[in-house]
Subunit: 356 residues, 2 copies
């Protein structure tokens, strides 16, 4: 049976990315060696990193003066690397969910942290608005998409301080005004690659401004100066990321990714709003994520949750169980998600509705 992969991450990747990576693992570029056993300093691997960096810059229209890094450790490691590198006195954080809160908590060990706004008391069901960011902070940190709660900042905020953005789960799903940011980072295991590589876009002249000692591996400068080759980078995940970047470019870039995301999300949210059995969890519809579409059973059908999960699973839906913090369901629709899979989920919802 055809599987429809709604996993929240690691998550769906284009089939050609999967096939090219498998092929490279069997035989890399006809070299007789596996991608898993070539040196990261091999003549035929450096072009992979170079092209991946170039495609990052091209697809996101990154201005001059920024570096693109591929590191290990995941976005969680960036939660401490960001304040290590940028927080001299004070930083502002927007608390929009579990990951935003973890980033904020980590920064507190490095300086004063201002939580400019939070939707926590309302279960993170919207993105706070009308907050003030102090003018004297070193940066303002945002989590652009909240994977667990299904909310998303659909545009880069207009503030008068430099932004830092965790874009783990919506990178390459929309155009970004990178010039507003000194740092954009994310685990790549959603829109880009398998787990194991973390991307960082960093403004070069924002580095070197803090007075503390930074351990070598936690210092972005180390990696900027060595082009992500200070130590052995995660070769296979970087190779897969390059294949995805090529795919995004061939499909029409981030504008096309955004168009598709809107089509998918509109279809599915329309069904959630129409179907008597379900309701969306995000209270402000304008904040609904295009990537992670969260819904629960409507109050009068609460008892049907396990039954719908079983029903949908039997129809080939994978990974639609909601995060334990929210419950219900979450359909993650990353870049590689075909509209047919969204339709298949909608068909499930409609068929299930007819049964009740």
């Amino acid at each position: 049976m055809k599987k429809h992969n709604f996993n929240a991450g690691p998550s769906i990747l284009p089939r050609e990315v999967i096939e090219k990576t498998a092929q490279a693992i069997l035989d890399y570029n006809g070299s007789g060696l596996s991608l898993m056993e070539i040196s990261h300093r091999a003549k035929d691997f450096q072009p992979v990193v170079d092209e991946a960096v170039a495609l990052f810059k091209k697809l996101l229209n990154i201005p001059e003066g920024y570096s693109v890094l591929f590191l290990g450790g995941g976005a969680s490691m960036e939660f401490c690397m960001v304040p290590y590198n940028f927080l001299e006195k004070k930083a502002a954080y927007l608390n929009t969910g579990t990951w935003a809160k973890k980033a904020l908590k980590e920064a507190k060990a490095f300086g004063e942290v201002v939580e400019v706004a939070s939707s926590e008391k309302d279960g993170f069901t919207y993105i706070p608005k009308n907050y003030e960011v102090p003018a004297d902070v070193d940066y303002f940190h945002i989590t652009t998409n909240n994977t667990i709660y299904g909310t998303e900042l659909h545009a880069d905020p207009d503030v008068n301080v430099p932004l830092v953005g965790d874009m783990s789960s919506d990178i390459f799903s929309r155009p970004v005004d990178v010039s507003k940011y000194i740092c954009i980072y994310g685990g790549a295991q959603k829109n880009l690659a398998p787990a194991g590589v973390t991307f960082v876009i960093v403004k070069d002249d924002a580095l070197g401004k803090v007075s503390r000692y930074i351990p070598t591996m936690l210092n972005y400068k180390t990696h900027v100066e060595k082009g992500s080759m200070f130590n052995t980078p995660p070769v296979v995940p970087i190779y897969a990321a390059l294949q995805t970047l090529r795919w995004i470019k061939a499909q029409g870039g981030v504008e096309e990714m955004q168009r598709r995301a809107k089509v998918r999300a509109e279809m599915l949210y329309a069904e959630i709003d129409r179907n008597k059995l379900f309701r969306g969890t995000v209270t402000n519809k304008g904040d609904r994520s295009l990537m992670n579409i969260c819904f629960v059973m409507a109050d009068e059908y609460k008892d049907l949750e396990a039954e719908f999960l079983k029903f949908a699973t039997e129809k080939g839906m994978v990974g639609i169980k909601g995060h334990r913090s929210v419950g219900g369901f979450r359909a993650s629709c990353y870049n590689a998600m075909p509209v047919e899979s969204v339709q298949a989920l909608i068909d499930c919802m409609q068929e299930f509705e007819k049964m009740h």
Copy 2:
């Protein structure tokens, strides 16, 4: 033409590990999904981590009270995590090469660091002996195999303080007395897996003894408590590591790996010592690495270096160029290296000798 993979790392892996990983990337356990797009919390991935941990413990005969972690970031990240977690006042380091020196340098930001001995002034051509380790240090750090210089500690030192060992390049190549260590770590991209996963064996009751704040991701306790699942671990490299661990077990364990390593190394060092064109770089033969076999042209044949490299490359040898710090040649012979490849290199050396 058959390639003989002497890469220093990432490096040769058993063919069945490569094929099983490629297959899992195309279709994981018949699930219809790729290993690259399943959740790390999927029911069928947790057993991968569990079995990998169990095999680590079994193959290395790890006593009770130790945890095995799979992290990102590489051994270089451990250079700061080790002192972050264990260095309260003073630590001792043995300076045996580039990586040992980097680990030592990193520790200096966290406390007093005693370099108990160094072979640096002699180009790291041997492992220092007859050093004294102060009794009041928190730990004594060793790099058990020096990939660049081709030296190796063939046994765990007898000292009266806890050991910390960087075993990036010789893990699973010999039995280890883990009970002497509070921490053993390494990048896995030599004897175990593709690049992207770092293994850490840590003694549970050695944690939590330093008074400093440790950022969440740098705190071993975080990962011990969550079984390497605090954040998304590098799924594909861990899967490949499991396949290698199964292979090691099926071949006969670390004793068999050690036997094979000795056979390979004895063959190749014998040829280096016999062949008039070459000489080994390690001055104390007892310190010669079984993993990284370094040699240069004999003084009177120095001019032939480029020619031999070309000659051997044309015969299918891959990755035998020595590190720039040493020059000449380095034949890395990790666990998966077949004796036939070592023989092929010896044949090259003998054929080349006849030509000169």
